[in-house]
Amino acid sequence: MMNKTAGAILLFILFQGALSSQQKFTVHGYITESGSGETIIGANIHDVNNQSSGVSSNNYGFWSMTLTEGEYELVFTYTGYTEEHRKIVLNKNLELNVKLKSGLELEEVTISSEEIKKNVRSTEMGTQVMNTDIVKRMPALLGEVDILKTLQLLPGVSSATEGTSGLYIRGGGPDQNLVLLDEAIVYNTGHLLGFFSVFNADAIKNTKLIKGSAPAEYGGRISSVIDVQMKEGNNEYFEAEGGIGLISSRLTLQGPIAQNKSSFIISARRTYALDLAQPFIRNTNFAGTNYYFYDINTKINYRLTNRDRIYLSGYFGRDVFKFSNNDRAFGVKLPYGNATGTLRWNHEIRNDLFSNVSLIVNNYDFRLDAGQEDFSVVVKSGVKDISCKADADYYPSNKHHIKFGMRYTYHRLTPNLVSATNGEVDFVSKLETKFGHESELYFLDDWILRPGISLNTGLRFSNFIQVGPYTGRLNNYQSGEFVKSYLVPEPRIYFNVSTGPNSSVKGGMSVNSQYIHLVSNSGSTLPTDIWVPSTERVKPQLGFQYSLGYFRNLLSNEFEISVETYYKDLYNQLDYRESYVEDFSSEVEREFVSGRGRAYGLELFIARKKGRLNGWVGYTLSKTERWFSEIEKGRVFPATYDRPHDLVLVGSYRLSPSWQCSANFIYATGRAYTPIQSLFIIDGRPNVEYGPRNSARLEPYHRLDISMVYDNSSLKRSRFHHSWAFSIYNVYNRKNPFFTYTDFSSQIYSGNASARAVKVSIFTIIPSVTYNFSWSSRPKILNNESPI
């Protein structure tokens, strides 16, 4: 069936090409950034006389337009870059590579109205592209620039607990976000218990967030997509940049290997707070105790021919915690982290047909080693994937952008495997590593039906096959033996109906499936949480999302306004059974219960993208609920991350060519928690009986952060530039409760006992400063006016 479908698609493409070849010609090429050669993703290209139809550059900077013979003036636009015009005479197929100048190189940036109108014209909904330069200007906790925390400032996105980088998007859990780094899935997105994301901003080109209405090319998660693209490396000259902060320091090197042919980038970051304390720790009983994290991003690319490019990129990050108590001869070592690698081959099959083939490996592993004299224990868990995927972009006319492709992934998921010894006997847990084959096939057409009406229709088939070894309900399966298969068709359809030159109504629905799950038994996700696949016992999660929105630009496109509503139905949601306690002795999937969920809300977004003062206001009114027949007899309860009201104000103001200030203010309904219902005495001590799950709320959360950035880049043409970023987190020292705990005196029968409940605030006012520098082999003036 699949072979027939693929064959039909291929025939359609070839036939369409043959029919059109006599009347139409194709102009195609790459869009890159002037000065660095970085490809630009999502740049707009349109004919100046036909603004309603155009194309965008794809994830690799490639674009293609098929037009009838004639003369055209093409306009190339991208936010933060100058508009470029090219006049062409199209009487044959044409290659046209365009370089756009970024705001960093210009004295003044003008933003194309057409670029701004993209939000009104495209079929994309709930989608935001976050430029890393913007992220770097925002106030940052402890000065650590964090892409994921910046995404939390968008409507519909929140964090579970303050300061953490985990994302909860439109009522979805953190495992329901598809987080991609150069197409490789990142299973653990946080360092230091999630307080800092694994993405080093210096190595990141841009980040695309799709809050739910994901086109058919994305799959595997039911909530959202966070597609992070690494820089490719400057292919024109050498650059070095870095920074010294309170928590970590960073260094990035990039440059050409062969001019305009090949380039590289390598970026590293490491924390050192406890390294600085080592001289003091060394003389104590705890000598050897340390904590740090580091990560390395690297990428090289090579242009084989005009039609072929190869990219090799990788990420390696680790958190390492070591604890020693020498008096007790006790030691713990806890390293964990991600490693990803992506090998990509871009090939232009034809001028209007672009393909990408990728081989991807990723590995998330967690390990704990602990020991005391003869006793030692090792705990290991993780996920290892090997994937190959092939995607194609086909531009048969300037009204169709067709995408199709497939992906295959081999999953190996290791539960918490424990091995221990007491010096005489070795003990090994009997838990099983799980294996699965996941395959996906998709086809979509982004189609301009007629001027003012666009349709993005897609269909995705996903299949998951669990193979042994596995101890099932009835059978024991051997290694490689078929256990269970799931097949889910995932239709997606989105529309855009223009309601005026600067406004449109968009809507759509999507079906998503998810075969790999992470269920956390804590208030936030932790590195100890384990991923589990769909199995005979665990069904795939399913999500149905419906959305509708009104998009409008005002005052000569100076303001962008959108109102979006969504409703999500979630099936086969997972949670731990009531009274679950972590236990290395049981298969975690047997501790799950399966239930339902729903999320609905309204998101209001107003952004100003022009001028010295720019920013946005986002407000979300939402509800997120779950229910499980085996938890409180099916009572519907709010999810931990349910935030009925969430207001964010973000502003940035350019005081002078070298000074820029930014601020953000956040207000959100307090977090839901499970309250104490009563105390009862057992064993002479008070114990807590909890009330209904998540039936109480902490007090509302709010805070104001500000930052000032001094940058000498625009003052003189130089090889060396530096900047200072001053930031204050929680300016008015709001004591937002981070968690609560109870405290009892134990001698209850003395008649003199007491109980207290306490809330704890961790993130009080926190100032920080970061020094950044950059050096390039070519002197340049930088301008930091690029707007949000």
């Binding site: 007790r328 221990a420 009274s579 219902q677 009563s678």
Partner: protein, 311 residues
């Protein structure tokens, strides 16, 4: 440059670590009174007879004084335990009805310090010892209080004795005053076994450790050597000698196999007591009482009194 940087770093670290605490009052309208049962059948030498404490849960009072405490106990309940087709009634008895030597013995068995007891303490017990305690036997509890009926069941598990106990030096830094206890058991290969233990130092009551239960998942059916920590409550804090026995003391170790429901109860209760902190979620204590809270548990115990030798 270095000095200002260090100053800024110090200020920021202090601010970061300067977390703030404030007392909060849980919503009193959530309070719902429930019956609480704590009942045990213990098969062992010197065990207390089967007994049951019946109380009510209370709201989150800031102060739990003797009046509040006294009102917790439920009097006049009709309590029976049915075993092998026979029903045995438990009689209510209060501490002040007992002669002094027996009173102290009962309090010691319950792990309560008689000197600090501020209230009269009432329980229901099989005073005549008429309930037969047999391994593998199922027992069914019924409590009738006014219109309310509570029920629970349990069984007495097989015993697994400690084969040997000895004391060794502390790991790491030398300490001549304390010793570490080592034990060996031969786990039963045919059953899933659950264990709970208590210890007492010289002149102390037997108390369970703050983490007092385990199962045999990792050593099922094996001869298993392990260290046994001296029990302490979670409130007593940690020191360099926490978990170790003082040399020269004669210490008591009570080692029990328990039924699975009792394991679940103590496992969830002990985790619930320690589950505090920014990343923790609540744990609902899993009892086995229909229509109430608490535990009706059975245990099969051995008690060892051992001298901890001087070094």
């Amino acid at each position: 440059m270095k000095a200002p940087f260090n100053t800024i770093l110090s200020i920021c670290l202090v601010l970061f670590l300067m977390s703030c605490e404030e007392d909060i009052t849980p919503d009193p309208t959530l309070y719902k009174s429930q019956y609480v049962v704590e009942a045990y059948l213990e098969k062992s030498e010197n065990a207390l007879p089967p007994y049951l404490l019946l109380t009510r849960s209370i709201g989150f009072y800031a102060k739990i004084d003797s009046v509040v405490l006294k009102n917790l106990f439920v009097h006049g309940a009709k309590i029976t335990i049915e075993a092998n087709g026979n029903s045995y009634a438990l009689e209510e008895i209060c501490l002040n009805q007992l002669p002094e030597p027996l009173r102290s013995e009962v309090l010691n068995g319950l792990g309560i310090n008689s000197d600090s007891l501020a209230i009269d303490f009432c329980a229901y017990a099989d005073l005549n010892g008429s309930i037969p305690l047999n391994v593998g036997q199922s027992y069914h509890l019924q409590i009738v209080v006014g219109q309310d009926t509570l029920r629970a069941s349990c069984y007495i598990p097989l015993s697994v004795n400690i084969d040997s106990i000895w004391f060794g030096n502390l790991p790491g830094k030398q300490n001549d005053s304390f010793a570490q206890a080592f034990c060996i058991i031969q786990d039963n290969p045919q059953y899933r076994d659950f264990y709970r233990y208590f210890t007492a130092g010289k002149g102390e009551s037997l108390v369970p450790n703050f983490s007092s239960v385990t199962n045999d998942f990792f050593f099922d059916g094996q001869r298993f050597k392990f260290t046994l920590n001296k029990a302490q409550s979670p409130e007593s804090g940690f020191s360099d000698t926490t978990g170790y026995f003082r040399r020269g003391d004669t210490v008591t170790i009570k080692w029990c196999t328990i039924n699975d429901e009792q394991f679940d109860f103590w496992n969830t209760l002990e985790v619930s007591r320690t589950r505090q902190g920014p990343f923790s979620s609540y744990v609902r204590i899993k009892g086995n009482i229909d229509n109430g809270l608490g535990i009706f548990g059975a245990q099969h115990c051995q008690t060892y009194r051992i001298f901890v030798p001087f070094k």
